[in-house]
């Protein structure tokens, strides 16, 4: 487990940092919208913050993970071959990684600032600060002994993070969410619209909650529950194609992946718990 701890610690720190970074852009955007008399309220604020955390965040997660990997390796080497070390070294490394990543994002991508929250000095300082806390968080993770639950929890959170995108689509933008599944929502009658919205939203919200509950409790039943739903969707997708004559729909591949992922986590927990009992 010692070897596996480091990459998952980097990814966990990156996800933690993304969680700190994305609201900077969201809030700066919301503040501006309010300043031009747009009706910014709780619902619209949540929509912006959560969508940014998921959609912008998933892009940033890749960037931050690469930046952190380089920075923490360098920090590790400095720590090993010098008297410098400890939490502040990793915190500074995290901050530097974010700073360099943000500069490279501008210089390599059309020389424009894609991150709205980084267009002001205070926004830039906040991003660097987020990197600082990300580095500190990394240090805390690697300085403690970890068992398998650390990786299970990370993979469970990452799974929920992915599902969150579908949840947000159905909760906040159901028309485009329905369109992605081939439904022209407003062409359906009212009862059909209602059925579509409640069932699909419930489907994704439930699997999201199951995976979060699995992460919190480490009870494999929650992961199995989420997995069974997606495996079921994959199976009945094939039934629809081959028994009921619908067009081939390759989304069943994704459904089997989304089903297998939490089931695998549940099986590992089950196995480890049995080993502990023995």
């Amino acid at each position: 487990m010692k070897i596996a701890k480091y990459p998952f610690a980097v990814l966990s720190a990156a996800l933690f940092t993304v969680m700190l970074i994305t609201p900077i852009s969201s809030l700066s955007n919301l503040i501006w919208l309010a300043s031009v008399d747009m009706p910014v309220g709780l619902f619209s604020s949540l929509e912006v913050i959560l969508f940014d955390f998921q959609r912008l965040g998933i892009v940033l997660l890749g960037v931050v993970s690469i930046g952190f990997t380089v920075a923490f390796v360098v920090a590790g080497l400095i720590s090993r071959y010098s008297s410098l070390g400890g939490k502040y070294l990793y915190a500074v490394a995290g901050s530097a990684a974010i700073g360099v990543s943000l500069i490279l994002m501008v210089e390599l991508l059309f020389q424009t600032q894609l991150l709205g929250g980084n267009r002001t000095l205070i926004g830039t300082i906040l991003h660097w600060g987020a990197g600082f806390f990300g580095g500190y968080f990394f240090y805390k993770l690697i300085s403690e002994e970890k068992n398998y639950t650390f990786i299970i929890r990370f993979l469970g959170v990452f799974y929920a993070y992915f599902i969150l995108g579908l949840v947000l689509n159905w909760v906040f933008t159901p028309v485009s969410a329905a369109a992605e599944f081939g439904f022209a929502l407003y062409e359906l009658n009212s009862a059909a619209q209602n059925a579509l919205l409640r069932d699909f939203t419930s489907f994704f919200v439930a699997t999201f909650l199951f995976s979060i509950l699995g992460v919190i409790t480490l009870n494999p039943v929650w992961f199995f529950s989420a997995g069974i739903i997606y495996i079921g969707a994959g199976i009945f997708n094939l039934v629809a194609i081959y028994a009921h004559g619908t067009d081939f729909n390759q989304i069943f591949v994704g459904e089997f992946v989304l089903g297998s992922w939490p089931i695998a986590l549940g099986l590992v927990i089950n196995h480890q718990q049995k080993k502990l009992k023995e």
Binding site: T22, S25, S26, N29, W32, L33, V36, M38, P39, S44, E47, V48, F51, D52, R55, L56, I58, V59, L60, F110, Q111, T112, Q113, L114, L115, G116, R119, F172
Partner: protein
């Protein structure tokens, strides 16, 4: 007779008109951006690196025009639009829009008038410099159109990093500008008497406009790139706020929400929006007689969907669209109709082509 009618119906309904043929007129164009017909077989065209050229199809010759303004060819910037004065035949005047560095070394949009004398520009005069300085020339806009009263409309893009400024009137980011041919400001511009507003602004709340035309009945149509989704086509009227970035149907390239709102009182809705984006690049309103099926329709070239969208509007206002020329499979940058009504397309990029659309001979 019935069989004959059936044959005719089948002929028309099976899309015979959609099977267009094409002829490449010019090739290896270096980032060509716009062109205008000087006559049926002679065009003047711009290349983004800063070249203005005249090509004569009748003898295959191309000449470089001298004394072209120095441009900043970088990112999306360079020598953009060339348009002829409505009285070009008598005054030989043309107009060029381009990006260049201002006195502070920042990139911005310029509009220049000049007289074309054989192979050179003369009496060059910068008639507009956008108060929209940016680090790099992105989201320039740069489209030009003439109103019937002889004034000029110029599209000035939002500069990407400066999108919020499209909502304020003290700058030229995300604005359509209206000026006289000599650069002076028309007295009837909508914001001439508004405190802190630039008097040359005609409409605002735009993003990156790439199509700007005035139809024969004097209506102004514009289209603009949205980010991911939310490309728009608008009917332009003076003083109107078109909403960017406070309302939009698109999201940012990064996936971030630009605005959770798609409408608000006081902000104009588009005539239509393309989501997902097609990246509209130019537009004409076709009124020729070479392609009867295209008559009285907007033809919008697109970079991403690599086709031309034929757009008409039903009485209800709902748009009706048809994809044309997709078999070219090329990013299309510009479209013009020749004096006789033949359609020509310009492809995008460093090895661009000028392509003539051959009308069907029945």
């Amino acid at each position: 007779m019935r069989a004959q009618n059936l044959f005719l119906i089948l002929l028309f309904s099976t899309g015979l008109f959609s099977d267009y043929k094409f002829e490449t007129i010019l090739s290896d164009l270096d980032d060509a951006w716009s062109f205008e017909f000087l006559s049926e077989d002679k065009i003047i065209y711009t290349e983004m690196p800063g070249k203005l050229k005249i090509a004569d199809f009748s003898n295959g010759s191309t000449i470089d025009i001298k004394n072209v303004p120095k441009v900043q060819y970088s990112s999306q910037g360079g020598l953009s639009e060339v348009v002829l004065d409505p009285d070009f035949s008598s005054n030989r005047t043309l107009y060029l829009s381009y990006s260049a560095r201002n006195a502070d070394g920042k990139s911005t949009l310029y509009l220049m008038s000049a007289e074309l004398n054989e192979d050179s520009l003369e009496n060059n005069k910068v008639i507009f410099e956008a108060q929209a300085p940016r680090r790099v020339p992105v989201h320039i806009g740069a489209k030009i159109a003439f109103l019937d009263d002889g004034t000029i409309l110029l599209a000035s893009g939002d500069g990407f990093d400066h999108r919020e400024k499209a909502q304020t009137l003290d700058n030229h980011f995300g604005k359509i500008i209206r000026i006289n041919k000599d650069g002076t400001i028309p007295k009837d511009n909508p914001f001439v008497n508004v405190k802190d507003a630039l008097p040359d602004i005609y409409s605002y709340g735009h993003r990156n406009m790439q199509g700007l035309i005035v139809t024969k009945n004097g209506q102004i149509y514009e289209h603009e790139h949205g980010p991911r989704g939310g490309d728009e086509m608008n009917l332009i009227e003076p003083s109107i706020n078109y909403g960017w970035p406070a309302i939009t149907y698109g999201i940012d390239y990064s996936g971030a929400v630009i605005s959770p709102f798609t409408e608000k009182d006081g902000m104009q809705q588009p005539l239509l929006h393309w989501t997902p984006s097609i990246a509209p690049s130019d537009m004409i309103f076709y009124e020729g007689n070479k392609y009867p099926e295209l008559n009285n329709s907007f033809l919008v070239t697109a970079l991403v969907s690599k086709d031309v969208k034929k757009v008409t509007f039903a009485e209800s206002g709902k748009d009706i669209q048809e994809s044309l020329f997709g078999s070219l499979n090329s990013r299309l940058r510009n479209i013009q109709a020749s004096p006789s009504g033949l359609i020509y397309l310009l492809t995008d990029g460093p090895r661009g082509k000028l392509i003539k659309v051959l009308p069907e001979e029945l």
